[in-house]
Assembly symmetry: C2
């Protein structure tokens, strides 16, 4: 196989709680069950990702405890900005991106902390600007979740004020002229004085530009509101298409939204969420996932699988494939984009347990297989225009990140799909996004 394009795909590595994307990751052999609070572990992952020339690390976040900790680890990091700061100190080139809610935070806090990360990392920070949709997260901040419309109105205000604060200093404002005893050129440092309906800030922010000017904006919300935000502000979008068709549709809509906002659509990259399980064979990869799923309620999953493919499945059938009669009766549920893939696997004759092990009801497309299988999937999606890159959720970080870096990345590089090394030093360099200075893009 060879790539049909000169374009390179981009890679984001999702690193959440320190264990892995699968609920059982925290208790796998080789995983330190204390990884959740151990920055040495996060630093090791970041260095491995950088060894693989991955463009950026992404920490999704919702400020809430929303899992049953009896069996699972928390979904998110102890604090994304603190974890990224530790990673920034342990690495030199990889980008560092985290979610921070536009619903629950004040723009000055977001502006200050992400810009601080940006200068501390020498221009490698990015902010995933998303409204919060979890009522319990809002309750942690003492509020009731506003309407979707209000959340997006506030989100626009927050992003605009944050960007204005980031642009408080002109490109050459920080003169540091020891001889003439001049620390900065105050004529290039301006207040913001923006008053919105929901938020406001006077500024200026007391932080000079970084090597990339200011942090990169990412976006992850869905629907028309999310597209509009992404089109206006974002250089990267995290999306969760389950099929190539969904990916293409989302990417086209995103590019249209960027054009509508007067931007070059190539400035907005879509990262498709994707969950590889890499092993020496497809069977070994499925067994790896089965081991991870051991404490999951399989009975409930079998019934859910039945609803996806239009059959009344019983847990008693877990270790058998569907019968010939079921084969004929089965229908993919049109309301679930994952259903066709589930039906395809069931008809191929996998046991129900193995169909589930393929990840058909996971929140990202799952590919269990060899490095070459994984690369095939990525190439197919990328060549079809379903994405500009992938947001990779590794099942178990302890060994999975190294395996991805040492086995999948070289295959992608051999096929000409992925860069051999970082060409620049900033996150904007890695994404091909122009540097940004000042409050008005037309000014220096």
């Amino acid at each position: 196989m060879s790539s049909s394009s000169d374009r390179h795909l981009l890679l984001a590595l999702q690193i959440a709680n320190g264990y892995g994307a699968q609920p059982g990751a925290w208790r796998m052999p080789g995983t330190d069950p204390s990884s959740y609070t151990d920055m040495d572990v996060f630093d090791r992952y970041a260095r491995a990702a950088e060894r693989g020339k991955i463009q950026l690390i992404f920490l999704a976040d919702t400020p809430v405890l929303d899992v049953d900790l009896e069996r699972e680890a928390p979904h998110h990091a102890i604090d994304p900005l603190l974890v990224l700061t530790s990673m920034a100190r342990a690495t030199k080139r990889i980008g560092l991106v985290a979610t921070s809610s536009t619903t629950l935070n004040e723009p000055f806090t977001i502006a200050r902390q992400f810009k601080a990360l940006d200068v501390a990392s020498h221009g490698r920070a990015g902010w995933n600007a998303v409204p919060t949709s979890h009522p319990a997260a809002a309750a942690n901040y003492g509020i009731v979740l506003p309407s979707r419309e209000e959340k997006y109105e506030r989100a626009h205000e927050v992003v605009q004020i944050v960007q204005a604060l980031w642009g408080s200093w002109g490109k050459n404002a920080w003169v540091r002229d020891v001889e003439n005893r001049r620390f900065a050129d105050m004529s290039q440092i301006r207040p913001v004085n923006l008053q919105g309906r929901y938020v406001a800030s006077a500024g200026p922010l007391p932080i000079p530009p970084s090597e990339q000017g200011q942090p990169v904006i990412f976006q992850a919300g869905g629907g028309g509101n999310g597209l509009e935000m992404a089109g206006r502000y974002a250089s990267g979008v995290y999306a969760n298409p389950f099929t190539i068709e969904e990916g293409r549709a989302h990417r086209e809509a995103l590019r249209t939204a960027a054009e509508r906002a007067g931007r070059n659509p190539d400035e907005v990259k879509l990262f498709a969420g994707f969950m590889p399980s890499v092993a020496s064979s497809k069977r070994a990869a499925l067994d790896r996932r089965l081991k991870l799923d051991e404490s999951v309620d399989t009975h409930q999953r079998v019934r859910y699988l039945g609803s996806m493919i239009g059959l009344d499945l019983s847990p008693a059938q877990l270790d058998q494939p569907i019968t010939e009669q079921q084969h004929s009766a089965a229908r993919a549920n049109p309301g679930d984009p994952r259903a066709p893939r589930a039906l395809e696997l069931a008809r191929e004759g996998w046991t129900l347990r193995d169909v589930l092990a393929h990840g058909v009801i996971d929140y990202h497309p799952v590919v269990p297989g060899t490095a070459s299988d994984i690369a095939d999937h990525m190439q197919e999606w990328f060549d079809a225009g379903a994405c500009d890159g992938f947001s990779v959720a590794i099942d178990v970080y302890a060994d999975g990140i190294d395996t991805f870096v040492d086995e999948v990345v070289p295959v992608l590089q051999e096929r000409g799909l992925f860069h051999e090394d970082y060409a620049g030093i900033t996150l904007r360099d890695h994404l091909g996004a122009p540097a940004q200075y000042g409050q008005d893009p037309r000014l220096p």
Copy 2:
């Protein structure tokens, strides 16, 4: 000299903008003028302080740009929590404390970030909980500063909710039992559900206890409101007495406030702000300070000095001492606690320039001199019960921190005033504060 007590004094090192406590620090030889954004520099300072067995590093903060950057560096760090995270990764034992406003932040944000720093540093974090009094800082958050009364009402609510969130997990809640597939004991993890007049939070916070349970509370506000807060919650207080008498009065009032709150007064330590300039002789120390002051408006300072000592002083007299006639006419302004010291120096025959170089109008007591002179000052204050330790503001960090650690600390140790090494591993260990777990101190 020998210490009159078995007690050891405590040391906090103030590290603000990366340059030093004096406005001219950023342009001194040996200082990298880019230190403000360079975490390598902050890490080097933190390691030097740890080499000196200093109990903690303290980053004061007000989220505002309130200096003329043409001549001075910003007063505060790019972001205290991010800088402390970097320092946490570069050190093993030293405590890490920062200010975060109880007026401008939501309790969930404070609770999460300081607890994250606490677990990431293995139990070394502290939070200086203070209301904000700077109107421009409030404007950065889109609000008008509330009344003093409202600010303290909100501060009480914020501290109580933050402490409740920190106590969400019982001491042994994080079981991490791989064999039995049990990540945590949910019966030991409880919501908070606190609703105040200004702030609220549901909880729980998704972060387990650190090696010290939860972060240490510090306080720095003055007046009756500040004392009451400190008496109820704080293990350490940053104070700015200018004289031994002021220090003793503050410390006694603080101990009384702690007793009123039902606590052992020994659990609250007063750190007196203090600005040493260490050199091989007193003259050399004064010259060091003169060099730092070079770009300051000396004319204005001479007139201000005149108002402190009841004389109409002219800049023309800058390099002369006061005359005999002035000697008799001079009176210390009773409204300025620094005035008696200024008058004493003027009467000793120093030129006005040198009187000013003694730091008589600085915001902390200043001692320019040899390591032994500095230690004498500290011993005198400590033995007189004016403080439990010092919050040390070094004039120029680039060489001043090493000099303090290598020259002053050994003198204090020889005199039995300062510990030889850290006895424990957490900030609570260093302060003699008991570990704290859970929402109710009576529960495990």
